[in-house]
Amino acid sequence: MNFVRRREVARRVFAYELNRSTHRIQPEGEKAPVYVLTPLGMRCNRVYIVGALLDKDEIKPDSGIWRIRLSDPTGAVFGYVSRFQPDALESLMEIEPPELTAVIGKVRTFEINNRIFVSLRPEYITVVDSEVRDYWIYETAKKTIERIRNMERKEDEDCRLAWQIYNPDLNEYRQIVRQALMSLKEEYEMIVEEEKEEELKEFEEEFEFEEEEWDLSDLLGE
C-alpha cells in the first residue's frame, strides 16, 4: 500500500493523565510511530502542554542533556532536551525557571523496575503569557471531559483497551478537571480584583498629582 505517513496531532492532556499512562502501543511497520495509551483511552505520540517550567538541570556536567520539569495545575511531567532537539535547546538556554512555557514534544517511555514511565522530548519550548496558559487549561479540560464521556460509552476500541488495562476511576478524573478549572476561575476573580485595585491606584495617583498643582497662595488670600 502506498502510504504517506501523516504528521501526528499534538494532543492536549493534563500531566495527571499523562503520568498515569503506562501502556505502550507500537503498531507494526518499520517506522510506525509509538504511542502511549492514556487511562482515558487516547493514543498519544505528540503533545502540546502549557505550564510552569520549574527546573532545568544538566543531568551530568557538560553532558549537554538537560532534564526539565513542567507543571500544570494537575501535576508535573519530566522532559529531556539534548542537542538532537536544537530548537528546544536553543530556547531552553535562554529561559530561567520558573517561567510559563508552551512545550510541543514527543512522548517517550522508559522502564524502571518493570514499570513504564513517560517523559517528554520537546521539539519546541517557548515562553508564553498567562492568556495562553489559561486557554490551554480550558481546552484541555474540555477534551478530557470528552474522553471521560467516550470512556462511559465504551464504543471506541482504544477505550475498551483502556478499561481493560487501567480500569480507571472516572470520578478521579472528573475531580482533576474540576480542580484545574477552579484554579482558572479563581485566577479570573483575582484579575478582576487587580484591575479594580489598579483603577483605584490610578485614581489616587491622579489625585496626588492634582494636589501638587494647586496653587495654595489663592487660599491664603495673599
Binding site: R7, V9, Y135, K142
Partner: protein, 308 residues
C-alpha cells in the same frame, strides 16, 4: 393519481427484481393505494411500509435488498439516518486509530463538505485524495454533534470521470502553532519565478538575482487535526510588529538572516491563533489571523457545570 400509484408500484417491483425477487404487483398496488388514498400517508412512508412488509413476507434480509438511494447534494444532508447517494470529491484523508475504520476524511461537492467514514467491514477499495466518486447508498450519521456519511457493506463507491467542484470554502480554525518549517522567516525568492531560493540558488533557474521576502510555513494544530498554513508579510506584521524592512535590519545588525526566524519562533510558537482562510490544496491560505485572547469566564463556568 392512479398513474402515480402505478409508477411507485413499478419502482418497487424494479428494485426487488434487481435484487432477484419477484413480487406480487397487484398486492403492492392495492396496499399502496390504501395507504396513500385512504390513510393519507406520505408517499415515502407508504413506500417504506410496503418494502418492510415485502421483506418480512418474502423473508429477505435487509442486506440483500439493493436499495438505490437518491443522488443528493451534500447541502441536502440535514439529519442522521438518511440513505443517499453522493457525487463527491475526496478533499482530504485523515489517519484513523480505530481498526474498525478503513478510511476517514472529508468529501465535498459544490454545495458543501462533509466528513466520511469507510468502515473496515465494508470491504471497499481505497479512495484517493483529489479524485471524484459516486458514493452509492451511503447513510448519514451524527457523531459528536456533527453530520457525517458512513460507507458500509451496502454502499458502493464508483470512481467517476468528472472533476467535482468544491465550494470556495472559507473556514475558521483555532489552534496552537506547533511547528514552523524550513524556508520560513527572511527568505529569498527567485526574481524570475518567485520560488524560494536556498543559499542563493533557485531550484529551476539556478544562480540568479533574488529578492527578500518574509513568510512563515507552519502547522496549526487543534488537538484533533492539523492544518498547514502560510503566513505572509502582512500576517506576520500584524502578529509580531515585524515587517520586511525591520527583518532586513535585524539580519544586517546581527549579521545573521536566521536571527529573524529565531525571533519569530519565539514570538509565535506555542501560541493559539484564530485563522480564517480557504483551503487550497495542501495549505490553508490565510486571509486573516490573530492571537486568541483570554478565554472568558462564562465558558469556564459552563464546563464546570457540565461535569457531573
Amino acid at each position: 393519481m392512479e398513474n402515480r400509484i402505478k409508477e411507485l408500484t413499478d419502482q418497487i417491483f424494479e428494485q426487488f427484481k434487481r435484487s432477484g425477487f419477484d413480487i406480487n404487483v397487484d398486492e403492492v398496488y392495492k396496499r399502496l393505494k390504501l395507504l396513500i388514498y385512504e390513510f393519507k400517508v406520505p408517499e415515502s412512508e407508504a413506500i417504506r411500509t410496503i418494502k418492510n412488509w415485502l421483506m418480512k413476507e418474502l423473508d429477505i434480509p435487509r442486506e440483500q435488498l439493493i436499495i438505490e438511494s437518491p443522488i443528493v447534494k451534500i447541502a441536502d444532508i440535514t439529519k442522521a439516518g438518511q440513505w443517499i447517494s453522493l457525487k463527491a470529491k475526496v478533499v482530504q484523508l485523515w489517519d484513523s486509530n480505530s481498526p474498525n475504520v478503513f478510511q476517514v476524511g472529508l468529501i465535498g461537492d459544490e454545495t458543501g463538505i462533509i466528513k466520511f467514514v469507510i468502515w473496515a467491514k465494508s470491504a471497499k477499495k481505497e479512495v484517493e485524495e483529489g479524485r471524484s466518486y459516486l458514493f452509492k447508498n451511503v447513510v448519514s450519521d451524527s457523531f459528536g454533534g456533527r453530520l457525517q456519511v458512513n460507507i458500509n457493506r451496502n454502499s458502493e463507491i464508483i470512481e467517476i470521470d468528472e472533476d467535482i467542484e468544491l465550494p470556495p470554502r472559507e473556514m475558521e480554525v483555532i489552534g496552537a502553532l506547533v511547528s514552523i518549517q524550513q524556508n520560513s522567516g527572511l527568505i529569498q525568492r527567485c526574481s524570475i519565478c518567485k520560488r524560494v531560493m536556498t543559499k542563493g540558488i533557485c531550484p529551476i533557474h539556478g544562480k540568479v538575482e533574488g529578492y527578500d521576502d518574509l513568510r512563515i510555513k507552519g502547522v496549526l494544530d487543534d488537538g484533533e487535526n492539523f492544518y498547514e498554513i502560510i503566513l505572509n508579510e502582512d500576517n506576520i506584521r500584524k502578529l509580531t510588529g515585524i515587517d520586511l524592512e525591520r527583518a532586513k535590519r535585524m539580519a544586517s545588525e546581527r549579521l545573521d538572516r536566521n536571527s529573524v526566524l529565531s525571533e519569530l519562533k519565539g514570538k509565535l510558537l506555542g501560541r493559539y491563533l484564530r485563522i480564517t482562510g480557504t483551503r487550497g490544496g495542501r495549505y490553508l491560505i490565510v486571509k486573516d489571523v490573530d492571537f486568541l485572547g483570554r478565554v472568558n469566564k462564562e465558558e469556564i463556568e459552563r464546563l464546570l457545570e457540565g461535569i457531573t
